[in-house]
Assembly symmetry: C2
Homo-oligomer: 188 residues x 2
Amino acid sequence: MSRWEPNARGRLEQAALDLYQERGFEQTMVTEIAERAGLTERTFFRYFADKREVLFGGQDMLRTLFVSAIEAAPASTTPLDAVIAALEAATPVFQERYERVRQRQAVIAANPELQEREMLKRAALTSAIADALRRRGVSDLAAILAAEVGSITFKIAFDRWVSEPDEQDLSRLIRASLDQLKGIVAGT
Amino acid sequence: MSRWEPNARGRLEQAALDLYQERGFEQTMVTEIAERAGLTERTFFRYFADKREVLFGGQDMLRTLFVSAIEAAPASTTPLDAVIAALEAATPVFQERYERVRQRQAVIAANPELQEREMLKRAALTSAIADALRRRGVSDLAAILAAEVGSITFKIAFDRWVSEPDEQDLSRLIRASLDQLKGIVAGT
DNA sequence: TATAGTGATGTCAGCAACCGACATCACTGT
DNA sequence: ACAGTGATGTCGGTTGCTGACATCACTATA
């Protein structure tokens, strides 16, 4: 038998998510999270830079997923199409964790500090997407714009997907949002 | 002679901006800001909810400016055009404070915590714009999309305006970004 | 097999952000 | 005069977060 229970990080994440949902983010103290995970506060801060970060673990995975999807797109693909393809490639990650994702979004929606952090994370992903586009030879401005437009499209589709229990297909919502956006920009 | 120097809020804002620039955001303590403004830490927290908020004062003014510009647009104006008109209506606010705005952006660019807050503020403005559009009868989804597209357009134009000392005309950059965005979305 | 790491965790002390409660006292209106 | 008001100060406490050091099962290597 090993010295410690395995998966300390995962236990902290689960404990934090549950406690944030039960009592709210501000009302739960880091000590409580650590205690529920069978660890100490100090150990929590070894795994996570701050109290919010514990909800934002999958970041690196998403980034590599997006970036490699963009790299995999045929050279002839339009910047925006490459971005949309990358977003669609990521949808299974969310669909497979439906309940967990919902719970997480409910917690974030209830707290502005967490919304701040989420926006920073989304901006980082958007920036990584723009970098990937630039590596394909897309101009600076076009890369940023395509990445930002894709980011919004995803955000809006994702929000709808989370708030509508009937809707199963995130990809479909992405395409629907994109169509609407094209209409808006074209001046319909 | 009155009991206290006037404009405590303004003094705190100026002291904070200067100190954040001189030593960096994390390295300056709230007590120091208050001291430079001739006040105490407790008073700082009566004016500003936290250490970051002191950099984000003009929010209400900008919101009413945007919202009334949208309300003033002719009923026949397209949602996106109304948003762009509102953004252009706000450009003088920035152009008149060029140096101050630059200083502020440099401070924010140097610190992720401040970037988080700025994103939250921008999201709040975007949301207010979407509300104003809805009040004109624009559908929910279209309102959000038009507001978000406008918000990105402004952000990109603003970033360029701040980083290029030669460029004077923010409106011109907004129109240029919008044109590029239209090209991207149309699939050029 | 003895011994010297190694790495994940615990302990402790401390700083700085933030907040509630109460005190102060120039100014204001009656 | 005098009670009230509002901006500020004082004080004490909680919580997020960090550096420094201790512990001790496990591992590699002589």
